[in-house]
């Protein structure tokens, strides 16, 4: 049997060294590290270490989930597919459905890969952070091209930077082709740029507006940095959008200057094309930015990254994600202060969260999202259960479509976003299906104690769990328990 419920390395260690009270304390702390800051207990309950420094080390050392970007090849595949689909349509034909099915199959496989990574991860705090930031910089995989790029976006543009400066993460996310395409930056042209002047006459003939697109600029200020009440104006959005013109993808647009500016660059690479860039000095939040081409926008991002409103916004979101729907004001304040003091170092932000006592309160205040519940269930039952479900469909039926939150704001992160009558019933139904994958071993009393240490399991839950009529029904109950829905 591959499920061992009797060896808890951290518990055995504690038994040797400390008395009962300390042990109970460590039980809870290790439990919180595994659940609130991790992805849930693994089936062997092997929690390497519960300390703050061990959690931070996960972020610094493990590079399990970050990969080099493959966006250029992906875009090339998609564009040639779209080209052949268009050619077929013009010839009155339809492409064989297998052609499109390849992309959908690849997307589904990527969600299963993400689940496998989460279930098997030995750096779960880091994976949580990758998934948090991926949702902070949300893209939506509704269109074929963003769908194809979404896994690359998370694994390359996000995962690589979660342990560094926020400014670097910000630039990496915004300049990945998935974001440039999703929020229409690839269509944005400075009205007074070379391309803008050339195109003006043609556009006026067609009754179209000049080519500045504010979508990404608006979301940068509202969702990625300052937050909706961060003290910016419509004028700031426009200035940011103007500075950003020129940042685009090579060979993506059919506009003449964009084509010329892409010469010699590989298809699909994020590049800066001066011919699209709006000339002139810009002002953002009262600060002047001379026209340095590509650097004008990057300089704005550096300033936005260390703005006090950004610090508070990021601290609030992170604390809300890990600690409580309504995080304590003092916690947010100390996190924001540490972040600003370090000039935008994400490790300082995480460290401040893990330093605060409020973060380690025994009472679990966070309701698991469908994804987090699925990961924690698969980690607990192990037995390769995660390989035997279609993760995308499984989690979607619970109310969450991975990489497809439907809006640049990403998935909500509070109880009301995920808890609904139907959502709860679906979760219990899913628990029952997963229980069928759990193998024949029942949960021992020791395993139950490890899963819910101290007084975290109600007397009633414990007795129903122990009285279950079969291992399968016991697993279904365990995954459905009120105590298993929160972290």
């Amino acid at each position: 049997m591959n499920v061992q419920f009797t060896s808890y390395s951290w518990r055995n260690q504690q038994n040797k060294e400390t008395g009962t009270k300390a042990e109970a304390h460590m039980d809870i702390k290790a439990h919180i590290a595994a659940t609130r800051f991790g992805l849930g207990h693994a089936h062997d309950f092997d929690v390497p270490s519960a300390s703050k420094s061990a959690l931070l080390t996960q972020v610094q050392n493990a590079h399990s989930s970050s990969t080099a970007s493959n966006a250029e090849a992906l875009i090339s595949d998609i564009l040639s597919f779209q080209f052949s689909a268009r050619s077929a349509a013009m010839a009155g034909e339809v492409l064989p459905p297998e052609k499109r099915a390849v992309f959908n199959q690849s997307f589904r496989q990527s969600v299963n890969d993400r689940l496998a990574l989460s279930v098997e991860s030995e750096a779960p705090f880091r994976e949580r952070l990758v998934q948090f930031w991926s949702n902070h910089f949300a893209i939506d995989a509704k269109s074929l091209v963003v769908r194809a790029l979404a896994p690359d976006y998370e694994n390359a543009a996000i995962a690589t930077y979660v342990g560094g400066r926020f400014a670097d993460l910000l630039k990496s996310a915004l300049l990945h082709p998935a974001m440039l395409i999703y929020l229409d930056q690839v269509n944005s042209i400075g009205p007074n740029s070379i391309a803008g002047q050339r195109g003006r006459e043609a556009r006026e003939l067609k009754g179209k507006k000049a080519g500045l697109n504010e979508n990404l600029a608006r979301e940068i200020l509202e969702l990625h940095t300052l937050g909706v009440n961060g003290g910016y104006s419509q004028g700031d959005i426009e200035e940011l959008a103007r500075a950003m013109t020129g940042h685009t993808i090579a060979h993506y647009s059919r506009q003449r200057d964009a084509k010329e500016g892409s010469a010699g660059k590989p298809l699909g690479r994020a590049i800066f094309i001066p011919q699209l860039h709006e000339p002139g000095e810009r002002r953002l939040l009262g600060q002047r930015y001379p026209d340095t081409g590509a650097g004008q926008f990057l300089g704005m991002l550096d300033a936005l990254a260390v703005h006090p409103a950004t610090a508070t916004f990021l601290a609030t979101k992170l604390a809300r994600h890990f600690v409580a729907d309504a995080p304590p004001a003092q916690l947010v304040k100390s996190m924001a202060t540490a972040y600003l003091g370090s000039k935008g170092d994400l490790m300082a932000l995480y460290a401040a969260m893990l330093d605060a006592e409020e973060s380690w309160r025994a009472e679990p205040l966070k309701f698991k999202s469908p994804w987090d519940w699925t990961v924690s269930a698969c980690r607990l039952i192990s037995n390769r259960a995660h390989e035997r479900i279609v993760a995308h469909k499984f989690v979607q039926d619970l109310g969450q479509s991975i990489w497809q939150p439907g809006s640049p704001a990403g998935f909500g992160d509070q109880f009301t976003h995920w808890a609904s009558p139907d959502g709860l019933v679906r979760r219990v139904g899913a628990a029952e299906r997963l229980a069928g994958r759990a193998g024949q071993d029942p949960l021992s009393a020791d395993a139950i104690d490890a899963l819910f240490p101290a007084n975290m399991l109600s007397v009633q839950s414990r007795s129903v769990l122990l009285a279950a009529e079969s291992p399968r029904s016991q697993w279904a109950i365990a995954l459905s328990l009120p105590e298993f829905q929160r972290r």
Binding site: A89, G207, E222, V228, F367, K393, D397, L398, G399, G406, S407, F415, T416, A419, S420, P421, D422, G423, L424, V425, R426, V428, G429, A431, E432, R433, S458, Q460, S461, V464, E469, S473, A476, I477, S480, L481, P482, Q485
Partner: protein, 374 residues
């Protein structure tokens, strides 16, 4: 039988004195609610083409704009407008005065993003970002105690119903039932959880009410029947939202729209007939976030536009005329930005007016509460 056991679970909870109304969090003492009017909002996500659904056949410019899209045998409504042939049941309602179509209608939103436009349609705000709660949720708060039960026929609560007032939900698609034994055990275990207990109880009671088998509920008539099941009981839902998607017909519109409308027609027909006498106390709104371009595009479809058409349906509507519109016309200079049907009626004002009359609320308060942007 699963259904019987579900009924048993629901009834045993009621008998145990822990009973809650299936649709609102609160004790079940309001069987005789002060209002028994029902309201159903069927949202059409993706921008439904009002000009194809309710064709202005009398407009001389129509043929020039969309010759390839016009119905060969539309259902005549009056001397000017005709209904898409895939809506025979709704046409039947119109002939009985039980349908009223408001044409050339739009919200305050004037750009062309689905997401932002749906946010405006559902929140009732001036922009996509200005309000965080939905107008249907705020409507719950205006109804008397005991009539505040709201329900979404979807696995997540849609934005129009989001807010501080409690809303139930049930998604009919892809939902394998929970075994009876586990359902019983979890009823016990969730009962003492103040957050999850009420959600679970409501879900069990909702399932007990559904006469249709879940899991195959893609058909319009199945959804309409399920909606009626949940609206019928004395303590049933008073407000309901039903999701429909797939209206974004950029290409091959003719076939896709026919499929969409067939689904909608079957849903409305099943809802009306399954409600029986309660159809006379029910008001249904069918509306979309914006319309589509007046002209056909290069791929036999239409692109994002502005004005569209909304439907009011109900047994006691007593509509004297099937279409209400201040028709702006489709000539080149009558179109919004030279391309879209110009909205001449306000979605917000129309909805506030209808709902205040239906529920006996102050028109001024209703408008101010539901649509403060107007």
């Amino acid at each position: 039988m699963t259904v019987n056991r579900r009924h048993f679970i629901a009834q045993s909870m009621m008998a145990s004195g822990l009973a809650f109304s299936p649709f609102s969090i609160g004790p079940l003492h309001a069987m005789n609610a002060p209002t028994d009017q029902r309201f159903v909002f069927i949202i059409q996500r993706g921008a439904a083409d009002g000009l194809a659904i309710v064709e202005p056949r009398g407009d001389a410019a129509l043929t020039g704009l969309r010759k390839g899209l016009m119905s060969a045998d539309p259902l005549r409504l009056d001397g000017y407008f005709a209904l898409h042939p895939a809506l025979p049941k709704i046409h039947g309602l119109a002939q009985k005065g039980q349908a009223e179509i408001v044409h050339a209608i739009g919200t305050v939103y004037r750009q062309r993003s689905h997401f932002d436009a749906q946010a405006v349609l559902e929140t009732g705000g001036a922009t996509a970002q200005s309000l965080r709660t939905g107008w249907m949720n705020r409507l719950i708060g205006m109804l008397p105690q005991g009539a505040q039960s709201a329900m979404a026929l979807s696995p997540i609560i849609p934005l129009a119903l989001a807010g501080k007032n409690h809303v139930g939900n049930v998604g009919l698609e892809n939902n394998a039932p929970v075994s009876d034994d586990l359902a019983m055990q979890m009823s016990t275990l969730y009962a003492s959880d103040p957050e999850l207990g009420p959600l679970w109880q409501q879900a069990m009671q909702t399932q007990g009410l559904l006469s249709t088998n879940k899991g195959d509920a893609k058909g319009g008539s199945t959804i309409g029947t399920a909606a009626a099941d949940l609206l019928r009981p004395a303590n049933g839902a008073r407000l309901m939202m039903i999701e429909t998607g797939g209206w974004d017909t950029h290409s091959a519109q003719q076939n896709r729209l026919t499929r969409q409308l067939t689904h909608l027609d079957a849903m409305v027909d099943a809802l009306a007939s399954s409600l029986g006498p309660l159809w006379n106390k029910t008001l249904v709104l069918v509306a979309t976030e914006f319309g589509r371009t007046a002209a056909l595009n290069g791929t036999q479809g239409t692109d994002h536009g502005t004005g569209s058409a909304a439907f009011w349906l109900g047994g006691s509507l007593g509509s004297r005329t099937p279409v209400v519109a201040e028709w702006p016309g489709l000539s080149a200079n009558a179109l919004y930005q030279g391309r879209d049907l110009m909205p001449t009626r306000s979605f917000e004002r129309m909805t506030a007016e209808r709902l205040s009359a239906h529920f006996g609320l102050s028109p001024v308060n209703t408008l101010a509460t539901l649509f403060p942007s107007v």
